[in-house]
Amino acid sequence: MSDKELLELYREEGKEKYAFNLIVKAYSERLYWHVRKMVASHDDANDIIQNTFIKAWDALPEFREESRLFTWLYRIATNESLTFLKRKKTRAFLSLTDYSKQLENKLESDPYFNGDATQKALHKAILKLPDKQRAVFNMRYFEEMKYEEISEITGTSVGALKASYHHAFQKIQHTMEELF
């Protein structure tokens, strides 16, 4: 079912919840992986993804289809992830700890990480990127999104996104070259 059909179904009297469940079914997995790569931990990703859909449910009556449903949901998930990371970093700062180190440790001890040493090194390097740059890098590198789509999600110009991705790519490549 397309986004348009899902939204039409949602606007039919008494079918809001059914339609929304279909939206969750269509996008939860993709959004989860996007969030998971941002925060590393499954538990954190689970909390963020639930909040994302609850916020989407609350805001869906006001959704005017100025952007695509997929882009809109991605924007909520990205913002939720960034807000979560910011909050965690503030707490870590107050307790005089380094949050990116904590993220690395989470990845190291994650029972749901099945990658090999190269993949682990790559994801550790990605976790060291600034949060917004990491979001851009993940969307472009892993999900192979177009810059125009990322621009819609992040509200950043295509030029700025290209520059951000280029910097992130160089940093990751440099780290990987040092390790392997």
Binding site: K17, V24, S28, W57, F113, F169, I172, M176
Partner: protein
């Protein structure tokens, strides 16, 4: 020279993360349950929210109007006038209260008037009353 690391290797782009078993179906159920719980709460808010908004708007308008009247009305002059009036009233009440209970002012005659010669009294009475009555006095 060290070879450049190949970032385009498709193996690197594979997803190395996994989830607990049946996670996505339980996630969908969990979200559905949370939404159902929210829907049960929402009818009250749907009704109450516009009403509360209306009431608070009226309250704000009233407060603004009240504050404006208080600020821009010539209350200082009125205060000074009413102050004088109230002072005068206070003095009046105090004096009249004292006068009313003052024993000397309460009497109808002065002290001089009270010291009437008994002969004058007898004379006065004898001209107005009967003889029998006069004899009983004597």
């Amino acid at each position: 020279m060290k070879e450049k690391f190949n970032m385009d290797n498709s193996h690197l782009k594979e997803n190395p993360f996994s989830t607990p078993e049946d996670y996505f179906s339980s996630l969908q159920e969990g979200i559905s349950d949370k939404i159902s719980a929210k829907r049960e709460k929402s009818p009250f808010w749907k009704i109450a929210r516009p009403q509360l908004a209306l009431v608070s708007t009226f309250a704000i308008v009233f407060l603004i109007a009240y504050a404006t009247i208080n600020i821009f009305s010539p209350s200082d002059k009125q205060d000074s006038l009413s102050g004088t009036e109230s002072q005068a009233e206070e003095i009046y009440v105090k004096t009249s209260f004292v006068d009313f209970y003052d024993s000397s002012s309460d009497t109808l005659y002065t002290e001089e008037e009270e010291e009437i010669d008994p002969e004058v009294i007898v004379e006065y009475l004898s001209s107005n009353t009967g003889l029998i009555y006069l004899a009983s006095i004597e």
